[in-house]
């Protein structure tokens, strides 16, 4: 009969319409309150009818892998030796893998020796150009650049606000651990430490290996104190803070220092010889 197909279709629309009221009654109109607890009623799998999220009053949470404009990781401020230090070593891989080429890095140089140091002097990301592909985070060998979850970056003037400099980009490691705990944990397992790779290396050697940064005058605090100072990272603590582990090692600090000084002296001698040869 003509019109049965039509009627069948309209029944479906009617059902959708009625369902939303049934849902309202079932939850006693709690669906419409702004309470956080009721968000699940509106957004759960069983929800029928209207499912609008009232942005910006409510927001849908983003998953861990969500990627928006990158940020740089700096060491947490409570870190005993490297507080506030960039994880970035300015190796330039992020700038190379960036498809729209929106990353500019100025590699830091040691003013005394003129040699590059593993720390960026400046770091810019033009967020107007960034296409949020996540390559920089994916290919960074030091886990130093990560994709952020903060997608509310609108501003009134793109010329002043849309090129993020290092200060704007830097966020502490603890922030990354808070927005992406599972991934931070996986990365920690791959890296072997909660800290920066270099920090772990230093710790294994028993001291700072950073050639550029002025060596901290004070030695790291004794092991138990370090452990206390470092808040227990969630979700697992099986990786003990690396400096502590090193401090427990048998090698006294001074001996290693001497060896290192010796190596350095030899290297400088070699360099001087080479320079003399070239000059002559």
């Amino acid at each position: 009969m003509y019109g049965t197909g039509l009627a069948k279709g309209l029944m479906l629309t009617l059902r959708h319409f009625v369902d939303s009221y049934i849902d309202d009654i079932r939850y006693g109109f709690r669906k419409y309150s702004h309470s956080v607890d009721n968000f699940g009623i509106r957004q759960g799998t069983q929800t029928k009818g209207v499912i609008t999220v009232q942005y910006p009053d409510e927001k849908v949470a983003v998953p861990e892998r969500f990627r928006f404009v990158p940020f740089l990781i700096v060491e947490d401020e409570y870190h005993p030796t490297r507080a506030g230090k960039d994880w970035c070593t300015s190796c330039g891989i992020c700038a190379k893998v960036c498809p729209p080429q929106c990353i500019w890095i100025v590699r830091g140089n040691d003013p005394a020796t003129g040699r590059p140091v593993p720390e960026p002097e400046a770091f810019f990301i033009d967020i107007d150009i960034c296409m949020n592909c996540g390559y920089c985070a994916e290919y960074c060998p030091f886990d130093a650049i990560k994709m952020d979850h903060d997608y509310e970056l609108a501003s009134y003037d793109r010329t002043t606000h849309h090129i993020h400099d290092k200060e704007r980009l830097s966020k502490p490691n603890s922030y990354w651990r808070s927005i992406a705990p599972t991934r931070a944990y996986e990365e920690m397992l791959a890296r072997g430490t909660w800290e920066h790779k270099d920090a772990a290396k230093e710790a294994r050697r028993g001291k700072s290996s950073s050639r550029s940064a002025p060596r901290p005058a004070a030695k790291p605090a004794p092991a138990p104190a370090t452990k206390e100072a470092q808040p227990t990272p969630e979700p697992a603590v099986n990786a003990a803070p690396a400096p502590a582990a090193a401090a427990e090692g048998t090698t006294p600090w001074s001996e290693d220092d001497a060896k290192r000084e010796e190596r350095r002296r030899k290297a400088l001698e070699r360099k001087a010889r080479r320079a003399a040869k070239r000059g002559g």
Binding site: Y2, G3, T4, G5, L6, K8, G9, L12, T13, H16, V36, F39, G40, I41, R42, Q43, T45, I51, E58, K59, V60, A61, V62, P63, E64, R65, F66, R67, S90, G92, I93, A95, K96, V97, C98, P99, Q101, I103, W104, I105, V106, R107, P116, F124, D126, M131, N132, C133, G134, Y135, E138, Y139, H149, I163, S178, I179, A180, P181, T182, P235
Partner: protein, 624 residues
């Protein structure tokens, strides 16, 4: 493959057999392409038409998938047209090429053999400046007629030109930030061809708007043959028109309400994706492919990585993707096919008048799938998920993690549980609802049955692809005709309908939705079985600058909208970089518009909107 018996008809010989036969028939005109990493044959351009006819009629390669140009500046200094012809009964490609000088580039048009070459040759003229004698309407297609030069030529440089290839040196280690437009202010770098009359830009009269189209109709005054003024007139639709699915423009000549001819005008979203692709490294291109058909970015990724993997497999250090990787790829691609078809059907219904009720029901389901994409790949639409020889990452444990759940505990599902629920309940339920809502709907049937008819022979000849081709009764689905990934071990049917009208295309899409669900059901146990297996063959992610050996590759996939192909030429170590020499996208949305003209003739203006919707185009891909 077993070699064909000598008695076998030519239309079923192997590719090699066909090439041998061609060389025997045209010993002077046809020679094998012996360059390292290349295949197929090179045809003398003087004999190209004869050879092409022979290929189509005698050898049975009736479907011209792709025709594109390559500029070998500095590597032989010639232009080359590359054609990929297939049999509509399935099998691999017969690749043939014709070469010409760079200046005075000229190659005979193949439009008389395959109508599907029409837009592709116009594109080659537009972007490469190759002239095609015999082409009925050789005009620029993506650029406007006042554009100076042919931008895909290797010696053409864009306004914001910085360097030949990425990564640019200015970014590191001395990266001082600048904005391209500050260095190169618009207006200072624009040139026009000498013959272009710029005063026309100020002319707002009706005739100027249509001047470049060659419609043969004086817009302001149309006389019939007896000298009476008739009511035939030109109607402009788009580029800013809600029914054109973006910035697409159609210029219709109508006689009363009936359309007598239709001229598609495109390029309003053109950004020279291919030029950008040639500046990019191989890896850079993956997120750029997301932006082509932004409804199904997973499929775009897949085609591209398949093409580059073909090239990589020529080298020594290459590992096949693992089985789990293939399963995940197919999973993502089939989900995005579902998204694509839900979207296509929904907006097609909008076009024919079922305004937004059905499409919102479908979008609700699509959102769930996008939630899954977001959890796995990090983005809802610009997924950027596939890598050469692997993937961005395996499935996460949960859709949302313990973080960020300030107000969203409701969506914290176990991923596999979520997926299983989607595949076994939600998606089939949505498809059932869709059918209940529409398939028997009398209004829909009256609007769409017998409208926008494209016959099987035309569909093949016009290189139509995807649901457009299968809706015309040609059971051609690349997943079956030329299987890739793990499709040959999956059990599914090729959806096909014979009528060739809008309703048939709708039916094909619904059937494909069901087939996709069927594939997804087979993937779930495979996901379970491969759990814990690495997605990378050697257990660690691939390099960011893979060494791609010399050669050419054509990777194609059955995307939601049709055959998506990537033709890639690698200059190998010669250029010392990891940038493709040629990067071409065979865009189904673009080529499916070739038969738009003949499909629309004789229908009403209101039907045109529906016909366009039933082709299912997306302008990101059409205009590239």
């Amino acid at each position: 493959m077993p070699t064909a018996a000598p008695a076998a008809p030519l239309t079923s010989t192997t590719i090699d057999g066909a090439i041998d036969h061609l060389q025997a028939t045209y010993p002077k005109a046809v020679s094998a392409d012996n360059r390292e990493g290349y295949g197929g044959i090179i045809v003398e351009s003087a004999q190209l038409l004869d050879v092409a006819r022979f290929i189509r009629d005698e050898l049975g390669f009736d479907y011209l998938s792709s025709a594109t140009a390559v500029d070998y500046l500095g590597a032989g200094d010639h232009m080359e047209m590359v054609y990929h012809a297939y049999r509509s009964s399935g099998g691999g490609a017969l690749v043939f090429k014709a070469q010409t000088e760079r200046d005075q580039a000229e190659i005979p048009s193949l439009v008389s053999v395959w109508r599907g070459a029409d837009f592709q040759e116009r594109e080659a003229w537009d972007l490469y400046g190759i002239h095609f004698p015999g082409h009925p309407n050789l005009k620029r297609i993506l650029m406007w007629e006042g554009f100076h030069g042919h931008p895909m030529r290797k010696d053409w440089r864009e306004a914001y030109y910085e360097e030949e290839q990425k990564p640019f040196d200015s970014r590191w280690p001395g990266g001082h930030v600048h904005r391209a437009e500050e260095k190169n202010v618009f207006g200072k770098n624009v040139s026009y061809p000498r013959e272009i009359d710029l005063s026309r830009l100020m002319d707002t009269s009706e005739s100027a708007v249509y001047q470049s189209l060659g419609l043969g109709v004086d817009v302001e005054r149309v006389m019939d043959k007896d000298g009476f003024e008739t009511n035939e007139l030109v109607v402009n639709m788009g580029p800013h028109h809600p029914s054109t699915h973006g910035v697409f423009r159609m210029v219709l000549t109508v006689d009363g309400e009936t359309v007598t001819s239709l001229e598609p005008v495109m390029g309003y979203l053109h950004r020279n994706h291919e030029k950008i692709g040639e500046r990019n490294t191989y890896l850079h291109n993956i997120p750029f492919t997301d932006r082509l058909d932004y409804i199904s970015s997973m499929g775009n990724n897949h085609g591209y990585v398949l093409a580059v993997e073909q090239l990589l497999s020529l080298g020594r250090r290459y590992n096949q993707p693992t089985y789990r990787c293939e399963v995940l790829r197919v999973l993502m691609v089939e989900l995005s096919r579902i998204v694509n078809h839900l979207w296509a059907i929904g907006f097609w219904l909008n076009d024919i008048g079922a305004f937004f009720t059905p499409v919102l029901y479908f979008i609700q389901e699509r959102e769930r799938i996008l939630d899954f994409f977001e959890a796995v790949a990090g983005s809802r639409m610009m997924c950027n998920y596939m890598r050469f020889g692997g993937l961005f990452g395996d499935l996460p444990e949960r859709i949302k993690s313990v973080s960020n759940l300030t107000n969203d505990r409701a969506r914290d599902y176990n991923t596999i549980q979520f997926l299983t629920e989607m595949v076994s309940e939600r998606i089939p339920r949505t498809i059932d609802e869709l059918e209940q809502l529409l398939t028997q709907n009398e209004i829909l049937i009256e609007r769409s049955v017998g409208v926008g008819v494209l016959g099987a022979a035309d569909a093949i000849n016009y290189s139509a692809a995807g649901p457009l081709l299968r809706g015309s009764g040609v059971p051609y689905d690349i997943r079956r005709a030329d299987p890739y990934s793990i499709y040959d071990e999956l059990d599914f049917d090729v959806a096909v309908e014979d009528a060739g009208d809008m309703y048939a295309r709708y039916r094909v899409r619904v059937k494909e939705l069901r087939e996709s669900v069927r594939i997804l059901r087979q993937l779930l146990p495979r996901l379970e079985a491969t759990k814990g297996q690495s997605i990378w063959a050697d257990g660690k992610p691939g390099a960011y600058a893979p060494r791609v050996p010399l050669g050419e590759a054509y990777g194609r996939v059955e995307n939601g909208k049709g055959e998506l192909g990537y033709y890639i030429v690698s200059a190998g170590g010669k250029s010392g970089t990891s940038n493709p020499w040629r990067y071409h996208v065979r865009a189904p949305s673009f080529i499916n518009l070739t038969p738009m003209g003949i499909m629309s003739q004789g229908y009403k203006v209101a039907d045109i909107v529906g016909i366009l919707g039933s082709i299912d185009i997306v302008l990101g891909e059409t205009d590239r």
